[in-house]
């Protein structure tokens, strides 16, 4: 009798799972990713992940040898993934050196496709799997968030779909193999933990997000303002909770950076920032080249606009605090999520490399579903623009692994296609022309978010 009850409950739970509105979203997204991940891979970035794993295997950590230039979080994930791949799964080769690619190295030098090391397909899959898992977790969190705010499972699933089926999100995990999704995961976790008053863990999570990919750092001001607004008038609670957040951030910082503090490679772990800021002040040899210009002149601008972005975000956070007077918890949550969208968009309004945009997507998706469906227009423009922008950089180098390790396409054909991107059109290489056009599309998408937020606010004012 009891067995029958358990069986029924099991069956009921299974049926409910199968009918869960999130399931088709996840299945569709996974299917697209499973098809893409063995076929297309951005060879340049992933060759550095192979070098990082090589250095870890040799016992040289993350920074003793060149190859890894980011803060340690992704490096640690690579440590675990490398162990699974090389020791548990028995993946023999991470990649190989292909002499056929040498003649094009100089041609591709400044456009991030110049590598003669091509990673194997099994290695590409190995690296992409954790990124895809992170995509799934973000989708689930977004689902939970929208469901909580709207009480509607279908809307919640649509919100999750706006992340999980977003072209740029799919591209970054299953093609580019870059780790921004982990930064998004920790950012979203920090927002959710904060709303549930887990201040210590929220502090730990936002610090981890920041040490994954820097940009969530802008949100720290917003999270602090939210805490201040939520406990307005209660100095003890404010002090205690801010201290908890700070303690959380400090604990995880010490945990993450312990090896670097002990072996003296702390400075190297900020190479990602220092190299770019350094590159902003040192003129390059060939300022005529678009990519050289972007890495020097462009970075100079990005560095300078920080003097606008940072005070701007602080002002918005201050407005959130002052404007949060007499607001309910629900309304404060809304303000937090709106400010998270505005802050992430504002901090990337300088039209960055497309992978950085991932941090905007969950907050944008939430607002499309819960607040203003017209925001779908910037979602489409920005994400499609970003995919094209990403393709303009990586272009046919995406086929290198396929060309090097399968009979589907000849490596020579891939090289020919890569070279064809450098045919002059209107006085500049086609690749650079595409880079400009797609960058503009991405930028328009980003700026449209502001436009729609402004329109919505105006409507509110007009309607009283």
């Amino acid at each position: 009798m009891e067995q029958g009850c358990t069986g029924d409950r099991f069956k009921e739970r299974f049926v409910r799972s199968v009918r869960h509105p999130l399931l088709p979203v996840i299945m569709t997204g996974l299917m697209i990713r499973l098809i893409l991940m063995p076929l297309l891979t951005y060879a340049y970035d992933i060759s550095f992940w192979a070098t990082t794993i090589q250095n870890i295997m040799s016992g040289d950590g993350l920074y003793d040898m060149p190859g890894y230039y980011y803060s340690p979080v992704w490096g640690y994930i690579l440590g675990a993934v490398g162990f699974i791949g090389n020791v548990l799964l028995g993946i023999t080769s991470m990649g190989g050196f292909f002499e056929e690619l040498l003649p094009g190295i100089e041609l591709f030098e400044n456009c991030y496709t110049s590598t003669a090391i091509v990673t194997t397909i099994e290695f590409n899959i190995l690296i992409k799997v954790p990124l895809i898992l992170s995509d799934v977790l973000v989708a689930w969190m977004l689902y939970s968030l929208v469901k909580e705010k709207t009480g509607d499972e279908r809307k919640a699933a649509t919100g999750a779909a706006l992340w999980f089926l977003c072209p740029i999100v799919i591209y970054m995990s299953s093609i580019h193999a870059t780790f921004d999704t982990f930064s998004v995961l920790f950012t979203l976790l920090s927002v959710m933990l904060l709303r549930k008053e887990h201040y210590l863990l929220a502090g730990m999570s936002i610090a981890t997000a920041t040490f994954t990919k820097l940009f969530p750092a802008y949100l720290i001001v917003v999270l602090v303002a939210y805490t201040l607004a939520r406990h307005r008038g209660d100095r003890n609670a404010i002090g205690k909770n801010i201290m908890k957040m700070a303690a959380g951030a400090l604990i995880i910082t010490l945990l993450i950076y312990a090896p670097m503090l002990l072996d003296g490679t702390f400075a190297e772990s900020f190479f990602f920032i220092t190299a770019r800021v350094g590159g902003a002040s040192v003129p390059t040899e060939n300022e005529q080249d678009l990519f050289a210009l972007l890495s020097s002149g462009g970075m100079r601008i990005v560095t300078l606009v920080q003097f606008v972005i940072l005070p701007g975000i602080c002002y918005l956070a201050y407005r959130m605090y002052t404007g949060g007077k007499d607001k309910t918890e629900e309304e404060l949550d809304d303000r937090l999520l709106l400010l998270a969208l505005v802050t992430t968009t504002f901090s990337l309004a300088w039209v960055p490399s497309p992978q950085y945009l991932l941090i905007i997507i969950p907050f944008l998706a939430y607002h499309i579903i819960a607040k203003d469906c017209r925001l779908i227009i910037p979602w489409v423009v920005m994400s499609v623009g970003a995919v094209l922008f990403a393709f303009s950089t990586s272009n046919f180098s995406l086929l290198l692994s396929l060309g090097a390790y399968t009979d589907i396409i000849e490596l020579g054909t891939v090289i020919f296609l890569m070279e064809s991107m450098h045919v002059p059109v209107f006085g500049m290489p086609f690749q650079q022309l595409l880079f400009i056009i797609t960058g503009i599309i991405e930028g328009v998408g980003i700026w449209m978010i502001f436009l729609y937020i402004y329109l919505r606010r105006r409507e509110h004012v007009v309607n009283g």
Partner: protein, 322 residues
């Protein structure tokens, strides 16, 4: 949100933190990877045993006439002018040391300008120079100590500049010399153009066996110098990696800047012990394994065997004199 969701979020965060700490443990505290190799010769039969906790590609290269040096030294002197910035040299040398560790080779001893002069009384050693210029204690327009040392049997490993193109004068200033290479090879023989090679050189097979992939041609040697091994790439008549016999000694020249490919190629050259005289005797066995792998091969005479794991991504190496 349901309280279950709340619990799940906390658990999720805890799990992610644990994952990161496991990754950190693997990267820093308890590397689970272990590599080893052993070779034993009985008569002309050599038995080898390889072991690795990770799945790896392996390569065993066996050759005659490998280097037989009493010690390896690397020149570095902050007090003396150099073509390469001292910071770049220092960083390169620090990493080169790690490459030696990876290959189970004794680290080169760092020597200054005076030390190098003292060492050049002994021809049974190898000296690595990555400053792009020889110190005034052993080389100038009137001092040919370094050239004589090489001709007498010394081994010079050179990277990071144009060999024999300049010297440091009495005022400590860098002064240019005409016809680079003439003092070592008897004729102008070094490239001064910044370019890269993409055509496999004559002895590229040996470069492939040892994963030596440096392709920079600035400072590279002319091709077709008699008694020279060219395991790299070439273009416009110059080679990216050249191992040249000079008198009784050898000069190994690596073109290009002090980049990763040069560091790895240099480490492979020094740690394997190859010389221009290996041509004709070199053989290579490759494959892949996890756990342990053993085999045997037949050799004759005095040979060197060099084992390394990882293919392009070298994680381990070891040299055996058999």
């Amino acid at each position: 949100m349901l309280s279950t969701d709340r619990r799940i979020i906390v658990i999720l965060f805890a799990m992610l933190t644990v994952l990161l700490m496991i990754g950190q443990g693997i990267a820093y505290w308890a590397n689970p990877n272990s590599f080893d190799s052993d070779m034993d010769r009985t008569g002309d039969n050599v038995e080898y045993t390889l072991s690795s906790s990770a799945a790896v590609e392996y390569s065993i290269t066996v050759f005659e006439n490998g280097t037989d040096l009493e010690g390896i030294y690397v020149y570095y002197d902050e007090e003396v002018a150099s073509y390469q910035p001292h910071s770049a040299q220092k960083r390169f040398i620090e990493r080169l040391m790690l490459e030696f560790d990876r290959r189970n080779a004794e680290r080169p001893v760092i020597v200054d300008a005076d030390g190098i002069a003292d060492l050049m009384t002994n021809v049974d050693i190898g000296i690595i120079v990555v400053s792009g210029i020889l110190p005034p204690t052993v080389f100038s327009n009137t001092d040919s100590t370094a050239v004589d040392w090489v001709k007498g049997g010394g081994v010079l490993y050179w990277a990071g500049g144009v060999l024999d193109s300049s010297y440091i004068d009495a005022d400590g200033q860098i002064t240019m010399l005409p016809d680079p290479g003439t003092r070592f090879f008897g004729f102008p023989s070094v490239n001064t153009e910044n370019e890269r090679g993409s055509v496999p050189s004559d002895d590229r097979d040996i470069g492939r066996m040892l994963s030596m992939n440096a392709d920079g041609l600035y400072g590279g040697l002319k091709i077709a110098i008699p008694g020279t091994l060219y395991p790299g790439f070439q273009d416009d008549g110059f080679s990216s990696i050249s191992l040249a016999s000079v008198g009784n000694g050898m000069v190994a020249v690596f073109g290009g800047s002090l980049d990763n490919a040069v560091r790895v190629s240099l480490a492979q050259t020094v740690c394997s012990g190859i010389t221009p005289d290996v041509r004709g005797s070199i053989e290579c066995v490759t494959g892949s394994f996890q756990g342990s792998h053993s085999g045997s091969t037949v050799v004759s005479g005095s040979v060197t065997a060099y084992v390394y794991y990882g293919g392009t991504h070298i994680v381990y190496g070891k040299r055996f004199s058999l």
